[in-house]
């Protein structure tokens, strides 16, 4: 018995201080270990005989392969009178060849555990195919059938028109989609980029001849690139891709002529009526420069300070401090010829006017005061820590590589990303803020006009649009002018 007691006392002496210390460490966050080294997948690339650029990122741990074929022609290449043509052409590629029906192509994709998607941006069209890694040959064979022998059959054109019409209608149920579309329509004015933001009605004007002409003009290997990520290397990829796509004939493609864009300078408020919307959705933004190494990184840190996450200024002010908004974030978006910053907030209707004032005040503040060291380091820490999360999924990795190649952003945003973020200081942020945030942004408000307009009466001038973006009337101090 005594022996047991002695042992217990001994055990308590040894373990007791340890247990007390355990509860002390609950009071403050632990000190992190050093940040482990980030080893990015190596990207290797080459150009095939027909001019097709091939890039490979090896991820031997993955049982999938993610493929992206990028055609360097997007919605801004659609003719002025046929917006939506680029997107429609891209979608038609998976809708059959002269010998293989659309249904059979779908069977082929499903049979390789595949998932196929098409995306069209103002600058390029992307075909994404994610599949089980044992089916590389079958995937490339199917892709080559789609790219080299599209049928553009009349029946499929009718079906796709119906599908796209319905899809656009569905998208218009999202106030944020409607707000972003309105903002970009205003910012891009007469620029070809504006053709990306069309209504469902324009689709019915497209014909087989238009689609074939667009395809003939732009779907060329020397105007395309292909990215493969997964359990393979450049040597294997080159052999297999050449085997299936070498017969794709090259032809000169006229480079797109893109007029320059001017940022909005004067105050402009647009209201889009969204019947029965419960809240006001604000989308506020303006143009910034296209991708440029010297400005990309300070702008990225600026965006983080302003509204990149829930601990950024906008969220903390509009949601946490003032309780005007359910959410408030900012983001940057890049195109080949420009970039856009946009603040998006979901706001309670009575606070919509005050929320607009707070957002513009935050935009103004960052042009007048340099960001504090704390905010700066916090934003940089976020961006560096978050970078690997953006490439953890194979499809995200291939998408990042293909976008980087399509926009020619280079290595600065890949292997030198962390170094470039680390070098940003408060002075550089102040410089880019002065350059891009001083011009007055365009303010778009989406909501139910029967609820919201009375809260916006103090605005000097308010353009009121319907859900499709047709200008209905203009209000001067709340009165139709």
């Amino acid at each position: 018995m005594k022996k047991v007691q002695r042992v217990c006392i001994w055990a308590l002496l040894i373990l007791g201080p340890g247990l007390a210390q355990q509860e002390r460490f609950r009071k403050s966050p632990p000190i992190p270990d050093p940040l482990p080294r980030l080893e990015l997948p190596k990207i290797e690339s080459m150009r095939l005989m027909n001019g097709l650029t091939l890039a490979v990122a090896s991820r031997p741990d993955q049982p999938f392969i993610s493929l992206e074929l990028v055609i360097l022609a997007g919605e801004s290449q659609s003719p002025r009178n046929l917006p939506g043509l680029a997107s429609f052409t891209a979608e038609m590629l998976s809708r059959g060849t002269p010998l293989i029906s659309a249904a059979d192509l779908e069977e082929r994709i499903d049979a390789i555990g595949g998932d196929f998607n098409t995306t069209t941006t103002p600058d390029f069209s992307v075909f994404s195919l994610h599949f089980l890694d044992s089916f590389l040959d079958r995937a490339l064979e199917t892709l080559s059938l789609m790219v080299l022998q599209p049928a553009f059959g009349d029946r499929e054109i009718v079906t796709l028109k119906r599908t796209q019409f319905y899809d656009l209608r569905q998208k218009q149920r999202d106030p944020e989609f409607v707000g972003r579309r309105q903002l970009l329509r205003v910012l891009f004015k007469e620029h070809p980029y504006q053709r990306s933001f069309y209504n469902e009605e324009v689709i019915k004007n497209l014909t087989r001849k238009d689609i074939q002409a667009f395809y003939d003009l732009y779907y060329r290997p020397n105007n395309a690139l292909i990215v493969l990520a997964g359990n393979l290397n450049l040597a294997i990829a080159t052999r297999r891709v050449s085997h299936y796509l070498n017969i794709w004939p090259k032809r000169d493609v006229e480079p797109a002529i893109s007029p320059s864009l001017q940022a909005n300078a004067a105050e402009r408020f647009c209201f889009v009526d969204f019947p029965r919307a419960k809240e006001a959705t604000l989308v506020i933004g303006n143009l910034i420069s296209p991708l440029d190494e010297t400005e990309y990184f300070p702008l990225a840190v600026l965006n983080q300070v302003l509204g990149g996450t829930p601990f950024s200024r906008l969220f903390m002010n509009l949601r946490e401090a003032r309780e005007y908004a359910y959410s408030a974030f900012s983001r940057l978006e890049y195109f080949r010829n420009c970039g856009v910053y946009a603040v998006t907030a979901a706001v309670i209707p009575p606070a919509s006017s005050a929320a607009i004032r707070e957002i513009t005040r935050e935009l103004d503040r960052i042009t007048r005061e340099k960001v504090s060291n704390f905010e700066l380091e916090q934003a940089k820490s976020y961006l560096i820590g978050h970078f690997p999360l953006q490439i953890v999924r194979l499809d995200e990795l291939s998408r990042r590589i293909s976008e980087s190649l399509a926009l020619s952003s280079g290595d600065a945003q890949w292997s030198r990303f962390n170094d470039n973020i680390t070098m940003v200081d408060a002075d550089r942020i102040f410089e880019v803020a002065q350059k891009y945030l001083l011009p007055k942004p365009v303010v778009v408000i989406v909501g139910d006009k029967n609820v919201l307009l009375e809260h916006l009466r103090d605005l000097d001038r308010l353009e009121v649009y319907d859900l499709k973006g047709v200008l209905l009337y203009t209000l001067i101090k709340g009165v139709e002018g």
Binding site: L35, A103, E106, A277, G385, H386, V392
Partner: protein, 452 residues
Amino acid sequence: MRPPAKKSRMSKTSIGSCLFFFFLTSLGAYATQEQAGLPFSFSHFTLKNGLEIVLSEDDTLPLVSVVLAYQAGSIREQPGKTGLAFLLENMMFMGSLNIGPMQHIGYVSRVGGEPNASTTEDITYFYQTVPANQLALVLWLESDRMKALEIDAAKAERAKQFLLDGISQRKAVDPYLNSLLAFDRLVYPDFAHGHSILGREEDIVGLEAEDVRAFYAAYYVPSNAALVVVGNIDITKTREAVEKYFDTIPPGKKPPLFLPPRPPEKKEVVQDFQDSLVPSPAFHLGYRVASPYSRDYYVLAILDYILFKGKSARLYRKLVKKEGFALYISGGIEKRKDVAVLKLFAMNNNDTMVELCQKSIMSEFNKLRTSDVSSEELAKAKGLFKRDFISRFATPAERAMFLAEMVFSPLGLDTLPDQLPKYMRISPYEVRMAVNRYLVPESRVILNVRLK
């Protein structure tokens, strides 16, 4: 049955035992189970307070994902108290003893991480992926809110308003939500399974801080939870860190027993639902099928892929593309803990199309009832299933969520390597038998959504 856990209980009676156990603990840290048939390994043990721990290495990128899962989904709610599980999920971000409101999100976001949470009918998950050197930060945050969440009336009111706003927004963007909730009440066998995670608005308004405290005390306890860590970790150090933060949290009372529902009466149910806000007529169709942990469930999961998954799936191709009876369809097997339902939702141009669409579905089921699916079609369905199954290990976050789900599954973690082969062995005959057994009128529920 859960797999036997390696206990790490400390002996208090002899230093010899203490040392012996320390030795065992160290050994246990290295006792990683190499799982044949899985592309990764994991180790599983249980803390003395009952908290289940699963650790798995993935050194592809310098990241770590942490999932803390509680068996605290909406099926644990009582009538009149719906929305409580989702409310508590939200309140878990509103501060605990050492961490202020919103600070959890702030701490994780500042280091570049992604914090999130989700509530299902069965389980509430809290998950975050952070740079690998910030693992201790997440363990500190999660252990604090498991140990001492701060619940008060003001926070409860704020969370309630958040939930009510969320329901209002969901209804604004999804005009068929009301009909779906009504359908779930019809097709599931009891209140526990049939009510929505979102909760009823009138119930949410009536919830009080005391209700939240009681739910937290009953279900947010170590013995009702599982912690999964996947990523660029050292198993030994991670085990030490987990024990440091979680081992001294009291186990809490044993959560109330959850009883499986009585099987519903075998009888077809067909009802109408009038709604003035829906853009077009539609219908919900459901079959009460085998339990998610039964042998037949493996066959039904493959049948789900034959009918609904992929662009060449039977029903989409037939109803939307070929016949044009439906504008849109979606469907699949939905499981709510121990109950599963094969569900379908279709939108149609008019009431005639609703009728034609339903007839066409029944005729397709009749074909499946009388003739085997081809080997090509079955192989395609299995290929798609395999893709989705192995996708669940593809990133640290997905793997951590999957492992957390498997900890609570009656199948258990040890059966994990056998799971995919079981699905891959399904034969055309088994599919036909499953259709004959489960896709029958007396298991069917239809709710026709009509324009008011």
